[in-house]
């Protein structure tokens, strides 16, 4: 802490508080999503494990793991910023942050980085648990990290937008169930889009989650549905665009300052 100078202490405190907020309830915020991912893995590998081979030499169970990890990373990054914001808005305690000299950029960075940390923690725990049972290759670790980082960043930003927009818990639940869930389930977590009819393959290309899953999976197997560089550009592009939108909303005080 002594290394952190006074100028950075404000945003650092907010970041630390956001980390502690989910860590205090880690049974719900880390253990629960890990459990869900492992249940998916158990059920799908039981049903399809030996019958389907998506990539040559890659059994379905092994194919499934990176997708499940990434899906959990994304969903938890979203959940972190969105639930923190909606909760403090509904409870009213957001005022404690609004009364401080923190700038909108500092506010943005603290929430964003805490979301990334939550996403990466959940992903790492799923990975470590999965490799106890299944042999999972790593071909390009830098791609794995880059997609996890920018993917969770994008969803953390998306979570801030949703948290600013929503005024009630049911609006947030609707956002989660009707936007985040379909986009993540239809992104190729459970299948390669090459197995889809051509029309749905095209539709999948409009889903930003598809690029995050495919690129992340490329890092493990060295093969994917499209070029990882193209996917990474799409993900970073979305991340930057959403960040600009979020910063604009915060600067305007959207639904925070009247």
């Amino acid at each position: 802490m002594s290394l952190i100078n006074q100028r950075l202490r404000g945003p650092w405190t907010l970041f630390k508080k956001e980390i502690l907020r989910f860590w205090r309830v880690s049974f719900q915020t880390v253990a629960a999503p890990v459990m869900t991912a492992l249940l998916y893995l158990l059920i799908f590998s039981h049903v399809l494990g030996t019958k389907v081979e998506v990539y040559p030499g890659v059994p379905y169970t092994v194919f499934l793991i990176p997708g499940l990890i990434m899906m959990s990373v994304l969903q938890n990054a979203f959940a972190n910023s969105s639930s923190s914001l909606i909760q403090s808005k509904v409870m009213g305690n957001i005022i404690f942050v609004l009364l401080t000299p923190l700038t909108y950029i500092e506010f943005f960075l603290a929430f964003l980085l805490a979301s990334i940390v939550r996403g990466l923690v959940v992903g790492t725990v799923i990975y470590l648990t999965a490799i106890c049972f299944i042999d999972l290759p790593i071909t390009h670790p830098m791609f794995i990290f880059a997609f996890a980082f920018f993917g969770s960043g994008m969803l953390g930003t998306f979570g801030i937008i949703a948290g600013l927009w929503a005024e009630k818990f049911d609006q947030m639940a609707a956002f989660q169930n009707f936007v985040i869930m379909p986009l993540s389930f239809l992104s190729g977590v459970f299948y390669s889009i090459h197995s889809l009819p051509p029309v749905w393959q095209k539709v999948s290309h409009f889903n930003p989650f598809f690029y995050m899953i495919d690129g992340f999976r490329y890092g493990f197997f060295g093969q994917g549905d499209i070029s990882p560089w193209f996917s990474l550009s799409v993900v970073i592009g979305f991340f930057v665009a959403l960040s600009i939108l979020t910063i604009g909303m915060l600067k305007a005080g959207y639904k925070l300052r009247g």
Partner: protein
């Protein structure tokens, strides 16, 4: 010396509602100032504008000389606000919350002694490690006040700090706030307990429908009401000839406004003529409540 708070022609619209209609107000450093007014007068809007939670439609506000819009960081450093609603963060205990709050203002371990002092002075010592969720209403109120003081701001705004608070806490709270005021902190208070404002505050602004309708020292405001109040407890009805003097009534008690002390004689003779007996009688000085009722109903 720069004023602690300065408002120049501040207007605030909420859609069609004109909540503040060109408020001019200057509060000096070191003052103990009361912002009074009926519900919906614009007191909370004014405080939220000072705190940067709302933005003025037009006009300017400054805290310790810093504009709350263009120099919001310096302005917020100078200001500590105790919000009216009993809000809290359910994830942390009292001490953690205070450290976080000070941390947002760039204060670190060097500030811990001050936090300990605030905890001690507000009677929160044995609750310092209790989660905010588990605190009683009164304790939550104390914690809320402590949070506003965590960064030791020179200007402290208390929005209805004693609403629903027991006598003991009010006493503890005011002792501490008076001490802070003596040490040089500017205190701005809104309250519905006018006797608190009368006892504590040296100057008062009275807001009504978004306008300042009175701004003076407490002493001058009290002096603006001539005469005295006569409190009577009667065995029967007040004679009709005296009904024009009634300030307020709760039968069988009546509070009559006297323009001058000689009117006592008139009241007594009217009661005697009507055959109404006096069970109790008291002559009292008008208080801030009388000024308040007088101004709010008159204008």
């Amino acid at each position: 010396m720069l004023p602690a708070i300065k408002l120049t022609q501040v207007h605030k619209h909420f859609g069609a509602l004109h909540a503040l209609k060109g408020v001019d107000l200057s509060i000096e450093q070191g003052e103990f100032f009361a912002l009074l007014g009926p519900n919906g007068a614009g007191k909370s809007t004014l405080i939220n504008l000072m705190a940067g939670l709302l933005r003025p439609t037009s006009g300017s506000l400054s805290v310790m000389g810093f504009d709350v819009v263009n120099q919001y960081q310096q302005a917020r450093h100078a200001l500590g606000v105790v919000p009216q609603e009993l809000v809290f963060d359910p994830f942390f205990n009292v001490r953690e919350m205070l450290r976080f709050q000070a941390g947002y203002f760039g204060r670190g371990a060097e500030n811990d002694a001050w936090i300990d002092e605030v905890i001690e002075c507000l009677g929160l010592s044995d609750k310092a490690h209790t989660n905010m969720r588990r605190l009683s209403g009164g304790m939550k109120r104390r914690a809320l006040i402590a949070q506003a003081l965590a960064h030791k701001p020179p200007v402290i705004v208390l929005d209805e700090p004693t609403a629903g608070v027991d006598v003991e806490l009010r006493h503890t709270l005011w002792e501490f706030i008076k001490r802070l005021n003596k040490e040089g902190h500017t205190i701005i208070l809104t309250t519905h307990y006018l006797e608190e404002a009368e006892e504590l505050c040296s100057r008062v602004a009275l807001l009504k429908q978004g306008e300042v309708i009175a701004l003076d020292t407490t002493k001058n405001l009290l002096a603006s009401i001539p005469g005295k109040n006569l409190r009577l407890r009667l065995s029967g009805q007040l004679p009709a000839s005296l009904s024009g003097m009634v300030r307020h009534q709760e039968k069988p008690e009546y509070m009559l406004a006297l323009n001058e002390i000689g009117q006592v004689e008139f009241v007594l003779s009217e009661l005697r003529n009507a055959g109404v007996a006096i069970e109790d009688m008291q002559l009292i000085e008008p208080d801030l409540e009388d000024v308040f009722v007088d101004l709010v109903t008159r204008k």
